[in-house]
């Protein structure tokens, strides 16, 4: 990566990367947990079993805290398009502004109108409308993800655009832009990964209660729903969505695929490195242990397929942090594989009725919840580092996108401000969520 002095966009990249990574810790749980709330409220309505209502009520408290931090950390994201990325706004605002506006108008209005009703309105609304509020919030949060992913997909693989007379980008076809094939694949992959986070958190709290021998009836619900949803979602993350995503990168960003795998020379029978350290200066992967032909097969369908190497492309189109990109991608894959194994085992034990007595597995489930957050973050690092050096792939370079009038001093100042504020916010969030989990689910209707 170019040093700060050489690259006018350096500090704005740092700030956007930090604030978006932090922000996205919260929406991924919101989007995963939302469907657990819908599910438990629905089961409660159908069966009249109080346990389901109680589960929904307990998780709604954690959902509310998580949602609030997601909202307050989300608003700076939209504003940074103007404050830090004025060059991008001028060039592509007519395109990406459409989906950012749609997100606000269609998704946020929906979510925010019903979030109050979901968290505090159980008594006021009655069971049916309250269930409706849960569905509205879940739909709103997923809709919001779709609009953001269309925006990102345009930056990864621009379609449906044209150059307007004033030199800026405009939309040639709204349909093509909104139905970008990259967006569909990215949406499926990302949303499955959000479900993984939600399911791991639910399962972890269930395991925690069972291990302590408290709230056992509730914990059983969390464990069962959490482990099964986590298994299904982890499988979906890998196949078909992750597989399709990698093929998409291979087709439209072959230089990125080469960098993700640390492949400097092209050729057929390309392998996937299980272990290896990229040495960019020497242009080789060191100490590699490879599965031969695997990359050719995964990316292009046959073992003989030719996979391009970095050497085939001009160096100024290489991603500018190949090392970090390589490790992000490989660690993500490793974690995803471990998730499938862990949750497969947990589901088998759950079917046999032995999960609650397998204490070592409960320990692993309890301690595993941070890893989906890490895997989600690594996935986004792969996508965004892989997109470099472009802001809009093939059209517009990152270094041209930042605001010319904003000095590095200003950006460093606000980055320090965000770091401090978000550190305190993180402590506060962990403290309050820890407190709610310590209290545990309580019987009876909470005051509404």
């Amino acid at each position: 990566m170019e040093l700060a002095l050489a690259n006018p966009a350096f500090w704005s990249r740092m700030q956007f990367g930090f604030t978006i990574t932090y922000h996205y810790l919260f929406p991924q749980l919101t989007m995963g947990l939302a469907w657990f709330l819908v599910y438990w409220k629905w089961r409660g309505l159908r069966t009249g079993d109080e346990e389901y209502h109680q589960a929904a009520r307990f998780w709604a408290k954690i959902f509310g805290l998580n949602f609030a931090v997601g909202v307050v950390t989300g608003i700076p994201m939209e504003f940074q398009f103007g404050t830090n990325w004025a060059g991008l706004s001028r060039y592509a605002g007519g395109v990406i502004g459409q989906t950012l506006a749609m997100e606000g108008m269609f998704a946020f209005f929906l979510e925010s109108a019903f979030i109050g009703a979901l968290i505090w309105g159980e008594k006021r609304l009655g069971p049916r409308s309250h269930f409706g509020a849960a569905v509205a919030v879940a739909l709103g949060s997923w809709l919001s993800a779709y609009f953001i992913l269309v925006t990102n997909a345009f930056m990864q693989h621009p379609v449906g655009h044209r150059v307007e007379p004033d030199g800026a980008l405009g939309i040639a076809s709204l349909g093509d832009y909104l139905l970008n094939p990259w967006a569909w694949v990215e949406f499926a992959h990302n949303q499955a990964a959000a479900l993984v986070t939600g399911a791991f958190v639910v399962a972890a709290v269930g395991a925690f209660y069972v291990l302590r021998g408290i709230h056992v009836a509730q914990a059983r619900l969390y464990l069962r729903a959490g482990t099964r949803a986590a298994l299904v979602a982890s499988l979906l993350v890998a196949f078909p969505t992750g597989d399709q995503q990698a093929k998409m990168v291979g087709r439209h960003q072959p230089v990125t695929l080469a960098a993700m795998e640390g492949r400097f020379a092209g050729g057929p029978m390309a392998g996937v490195a299980m272990i290896g350290q990229p040495n960019v200066a020497a242009r080789r992967l060191e100490n590699p242990i490879e599965v031969p032909g695997a990359l050719s097969f995964l990316a292009y369908g046959t073992f003989e397929s030719y996979v391009h190497g970095l050497d085939e492309y001009p160096e100024d189109t290489w991603p500018d942090n190949i090392e970090l990109l390589y490790y992000s991608f490989h660690l993500m894959i490793t974690l995803g594989t471990l998730f499938i194994m862990l949750m497969g085992l947990a589901t088998v034990q759950s079917w046999r009725g032995r999960l609650e007595s397998t204490s070592w597995l409960l320990w692993v489930l309890m301690l595993a919840f941070p890893f989906p957050y890490i895997a989600n973050t690594l996935g986004w690092m792969t996508a965004e580092l892989g997109r470099q050096p472009w802001l809009i792939y093939g059209l517009f370079r990152t270094r041209d996108g930042s605001s010319q009038v904003v000095s590095d001093g200003d950006v460093v100042f606000t980055l320090i401000g965000f770091t401090g504020l978000y550190f305190v916010l993180g402590l506060l969030f962990l403290f309050l969520v820890g407190r709610e989990i310590g209290h545990g689910p309580e019987a009876g209707v909470t005051p509404s």
């Binding site: 939209e78 398009f81 060059g87 502004g97 506006a101 925010s112 904003v406």
Partner: protein, 348 residues
């Protein structure tokens, strides 16, 4: 088409100011109208379930601005860099204080978050007021449509101006009084008991104080932008705005006098809305005035996206607006009625 989008973007911003402005107002008055811990929970509960709904209007505004006036967003947001981040940080603090304050029933905990709520609300009212002042006065725009502005320079309102000068600070003070009065009017509508009675006193006092300030601000604005009134006189929308201001003042005064709180609050919303709308209509088609050279000013035409982009946005925006109106109806019905100190604080 461009004029319609100017109206829509203004509408979203005015919607945000009237909706979230009541929360800033309630925040500024929090310590004055609510003395005991349960009264303070009552104030928070009166705005609690709705603040997110109010805040997303700002996001709706920002997104729509990017879609239809991308060059304005690129110029203004970068130019106001530090001020905007102060606003964003205060919004974070305000939201957090509302959400977590009620989580722990403890004097120190709640006292701390009450302080954060009051502090952030004050700063937000002042910053948004100063921002409005900056739009009215103009900014040091160069010929390339860019500017970068210090917090303050020589406190004069011409030439190489800063964010704060005598005029924008006056507007900030005026805006704070207006928003506090707006918040007090809202609290009289949504609370009962001692909080209601103190809010009613505050509302009457603050609206009375706002009247001479308004006259002073009008004269000051004339002084700073002598070109605008001449332009506004020929604009029928401005006359409509003046009529709207008259109607809202009537609603406000008659509502306050006869204790018809819904009427007073309607007047309060309408007054904020028509004042901003009249100002917006008066400066159109200039969206950002240059204090260096009038020719450098950014007009709506110059900063708008392509006609095609505006047409596309026009194809989906009314649908979104209709849906938002439906949610609004739902919310207004669900969260109507008064919040008492003793019960029904929705967990806040």
């Amino acid at each position: 088409m461009i004029a319609i989008w100017y109206g829509i973007v203004s509408f979203l911003l005015i919607g945000y100011v009237t909706l979230d402005g009541r929360n800033f107002g309630a925040g500024m008055l929090h310590w004055f109208v609510a003395r005991t811990s349960s009264e303070r929970r009552q104030v928070v509960a009166a705005i609690g379930p709705l603040w997110v709904w109010h805040e997303v209007w700002l996001v709706g505004f920002g997104g729509t601005l990017l879609a239809v006036f991308p060059r304005l967003l690129g110029s203004a947001f970068a130019g106001y860099y530090l001020a905007l981040f102060l606003i964003l940080w205060c919004l974070i603090l305000r939201g957090v204080s509302l959400e977590v304050g009620g989580h722990i029933d403890d004097r120190l905990w709640q006292g701390f978050w009450d302080f954060v709520f009051v502090f952030a609300s004050f700063l937000l009212a002042i910053l948004f007021g100063a921002a409005a002042g900056n739009v009215a006065r103009g900014v040091p725009l160069h010929a390339d449509g860019r500017f970068s502005m210090a917090f303050f320079t020589d406190f004069r309102s011409t030439g190489n101006v800063g964010l704060l000068d005598w005029y924008t600070v006056s507007i900030a003070v005026f805006a704070s009084v207006m928003l506090a009065a707006h918040g007090a009017t809202y609290l009289t509508l949504r609370t009962e008991g001692p909080v209601h009675d103190r809010s009613a006193v505050c509302a009457r006092g603050l609206w009375t104080a706002a009247a001479p300030l308004f006259v002073a601000i009008s004269i000051a604005s004339w002084e700073v932008r002598p070109d605008v009134p001449g332009q506004a006189i020929g604009n029928p929308l401005c006359w409509l705005g003046v009529l709207g201001i008259g109607v809202s003042i009537y609603l406000l005064i008659s509502g306050l006098a006869s204790r018809r709180e819904a009427r007073a609050f309607a007047g309060s919303n309408l007054l904020l809305g028509t004042l901003l709308a009249t100002g917006g209509a008066a400066i159109f088609p200039v969206m950002l005035h240059s204090t260096l050279e009038p020719d450098h000013s950014l007009t709506a035409d110059a900063v708008a996206a392509s006609p095609n982009a505006l047409r596309l946005a026009a194809s989906w925006w009314p649908v979104a607006a209709a849906l938002a109106a439906a949610y609004f109806a739902f919310i207004s019905r669900r969260w109507a009625g008064k919040v008492s100190a003793a019960r029904d604080t929705q967990g806040y």
